[in-house]
Each structure stands twice: as structure tokens, then as C-alpha cells.
Symmetry: C2
Subunit: 292 residues, 2 copies
Amino acid sequence: MILLLAALLAAAAPPLEPDAIVAAAPPAAWRPIAPDNLMIIETAAGTMAMELAPDFAPAHVAAVRALVAAGRFDGGSITRVQDNYVVQWAAKPAPGASAVGQPPADRPKRTRPQPLPAEFERPAKGLAITPLGFPDAYAEAGFADGWPVAQDRKAGTAWLAHCYGTVGAGHDMPPDSGDGSELYAVIGHAPRHLDRNIALVGRVVSGLEPHAALKRGTEALGFYATPAEQTPVIRARLASAMPDAPRFEVMQTSSDSFAAYKTARANRSGFFVRPAGAVDLCNVRVPVRVAK
Amino acid sequence: MILLLAALLAAAAPPLEPDAIVAAAPPAAWRPIAPDNLMIIETAAGTMAMELAPDFAPAHVAAVRALVAAGRFDGGSITRVQDNYVVQWAAKPAPGASAVGQPPADRPKRTRPQPLPAEFERPAKGLAITPLGFPDAYAEAGFADGWPVAQDRKAGTAWLAHCYGTVGAGHDMPPDSGDGSELYAVIGHAPRHLDRNIALVGRVVSGLEPHAALKRGTEALGFYATPAEQTPVIRARLASAMPDAPRFEVMQTSSDSFAAYKTARANRSGFFVRPAGAVDLCNVRVPVRVAK
């Protein structure tokens, strides 16, 4: 009887909005972003904070950290903004190497210390994947440790999904030709067809907006026609090397709070006369907050 | 034997890229956008061409046409740009009515000639829907007469889908409170949760880029804090009322060319080492071209 009453009361209570669920989530529902996984990128347009994903692309993340430590992104440029697709920034060329930042056809081959492996997917084993629970055009979608992922149960593989803000490492035609010196963030409808074709190294957790609003490049693929149109990258640092680094927390996608948040995203109330009853992977948007 | 040989040759031929399929599509694979369904919106940021969708929201499209004819969008403003969501523009207030363009909480009630019905869906009957053929989180997805749509077979209803560039008519909390004087275009990941909660009146077919790159508003929902931040709408006209109107054509989504294009979007070659084998509704992007 008491259980029935509780169920009736629960049914009568207005459903919580996604934001209210996030605000009410207990401390255990959050994990901090480790300072060594937090890259702060200062550009002439603003400051982006990016979480690195060493569990998905360890060699690429190590290469990006090494480029940051060597100051290679300092003095780099945003070389490409393609509408409904990506904003891309490039490190300075290594000493003695040719310049980057021109459209690919005109760009002389870069020198690379060593090509990186094609870290496009990983074993699903070792990941605790919380299923999305709704159909996905591309694969079986879910979340692992705060990241949107997809998996192939038959092959036993999993991979990060291209959602708004996801960061990938550009490469030329050979899959193992990336070196971490050119990174792009998604600024349009999730280009999931790129999943498993590019090493994803992380995601922007703060400060993407002014970069998503940069003038689109007019050359093929959205590259800028002239260096003058590029936005300078002033510097990039790991939070672990900054005295006053910002700190962020990501909602644990295995938590009850996240489950409630996902359900609320699928069943919006208030303005919504017809809740969808479902939500796609990239519309869930894993909550991230500034750490108190 | 000849059939087998043809099949072998087909298997050996490199698959055509989506762009090549579009370029090779015969005239019968295209339909013109009727001049009365083509709205040209000139703003301080550029010129957008928008196809109206009278088959999905007839009363709203009639209201928008009437507002255009009355010059109500001339001297209007882009009042809202929300990152990964929408750019929204508003007509001038009707004579004697209060101003639009402030955040909703501060905005006095507008006067409306008459509220419009909540044209959020329509009978599927009368639409020839070509199925997407891949899973969709929200509904059964497909295409009708060049538009991305979704349907509910049990209810016998269909509706336009919120994809990048889709245009909706803003309304207040009551579903029938829209009047066509505030329109938004999607500039982020497809907000499909809005499907069936808003009257969709069309889509931008050209010129969205500079508007998607406008500075994001800093108030709630991306409204601009001050009128000075707004981008002026210079004028809006129907192509049928312009002497030198541009003309556009949309690929017939019932055509063989579109079927081949969709398959190619699902199975990218070249750079792609792992074709997805699928594509989601809003990543198909129905081809639109300038009429020769």
C-alpha cells in the first residue's frame, strides 16, 4: 500500500527538467578531469578547455601532450572553419619543416617525428558501457566513463563518437599519417560517418562557442584562402603545468543522476507538448561543470 | 553470364562519391523550387534563400507570405543566436504592437492578427515517403518530395524533421501562439526533440553560413543582451515578387539518383577506411543546386 502510494505520488510529481537533475546530482555523480588530461588552448577568439582521451587514443594523446610541452601550438593558427562541420587548428611546423596551414593540395609534406598508429577503435573490454537505450543509425550507442561511445559487440570493439565538440586528429590519406599537430573540433551536426576513420583525442568542454562562430573559410574544406584570415593560437598548456588552471568535472555516465538526466532529455516537459520518448546519442550531451 | 559479368564489373568499379552522383543526376531527378515558395532574406550578414513548406504548415506559410508582402520583415532583426542550436530573426512589430527582440521574459505580449493552428504534423496520406532505411532514435525516418521527414505509421502522421538549416516558427508556451513573425534556422546538431512541438515552415537552401557564424547571444536562450548586437534584416521578398530572383532546384528524393546518393553517403570511399554502412537522416542532406 505504501509502495502504491509512493508510485502514485511519483506519477503525480512534475518531471524534473534536465538542468534540475544536473543541479541536484550528488558529488559522487561527478568525476574530475585530471589536470594532465585538461588542455587549455588560448586563441585570439577565446579560451577553450579540452579533455584528452588517453583511454581511446593513447599514442595520439601522448603526442599532443609532447607538442604542448614543446610549445608547438604556441604561435599556431586556426586554419580551417567549415560550416556545419569543423573548426581546425594547427601547431607551428617543427624546426626545419615546411609550413602548415595552407589547403592540403598546396601544403608541402610535413616532417613527422614518427607516424602515429591509427587509433580509430579499441577493445570494448575494460570499458563499462552504459547503453543509450535507443536506436542509432550507425552502431550500438552508449556512454563510457563520461564519453559518448559506440560499440560492435561481435567484433568486441568500441570507439568515441563524433558529437558536437568532439576533437579529432587530422591525418592525410594513409590512416597512420596523423601526428597530433592538427586538431579539429566538431561544430555541426554530428559527422558520425567519421567514426572509426580518425583518431579522436578528446572533446572541448568549455569555450567552443566563439570558435564555432568564426568566419567560414572559402577554400575547399573550409580552409582559409589567406594567412591573414586565420585566427592565431596564442598558447596551449596542460592544466597540470598551470598555476591557476581551471578545473572541470564530468558527470559519471554510470550514475543514477545520468540515467535520470538521459530520461529527462528523452522526455522533455514544459514547452514540449509531445515529448520525443527517445533521444539520439549526441543530443544527450554529457554534463560538464566547473569544479567548485 | 552477361548478368554475372555486369555484376563483377560493377563490383570492380570504384564507387562514385556523393558529389559525383549529384553532378551526374539527370534533369528528371530535380524539381524547381516554385517562386512563391522561395523567400529571399537579405540581412547585414548576407542573403539567405529559404524554401517554404506549404504542404506541411499551410497556415504558417500563408502567414509568412503575408508578413513578407506587408514588408514586416524589412527592418527586422536577428535577435538570437544560440550555439549548437538556432539563429532566429524577427519581423518588426505590427503597428501599435510592442517591440519584439527582447528575451521572452522581458517581452511584452505581441498583438497577433490571429493565432495560427499548431501545424506540428500532418496526415502521412498524400505523401510519397521514401524510407531512410536505417534506424532512427526518434521515429521512422525518410524523405518526401525533397524534404527530410519522419512518420508514425500507427497514427498515420508525418512531419518535417529538424535538421541543419530547417526553419521553424517560434511560439510562446501555448502551441497555437505562433504567428510566423519569428523564425529560426537550425545551426547545430539536429534538435529532433523539437519535432512535432513546433511548426516547421521550411529550410534555408543557400546563405546560412554567415548567419551560423554570427556572434552568439549572451542572454538566456542565446538572445542578444542589447539591440546593438542584433544583425539588421534589410528586407525579405518572395522570389515571385522579384525581377531577378535566384532559382534553385531540389533533388527528387524519389529518384534513382537520390537513392544512389544516399547509399554513397552511407558508404563513403576514398579517405574512409571504414565506411559506416549507414547514415542518419540529417547527415544525408538533400542536394539543392542553383538552377541553370
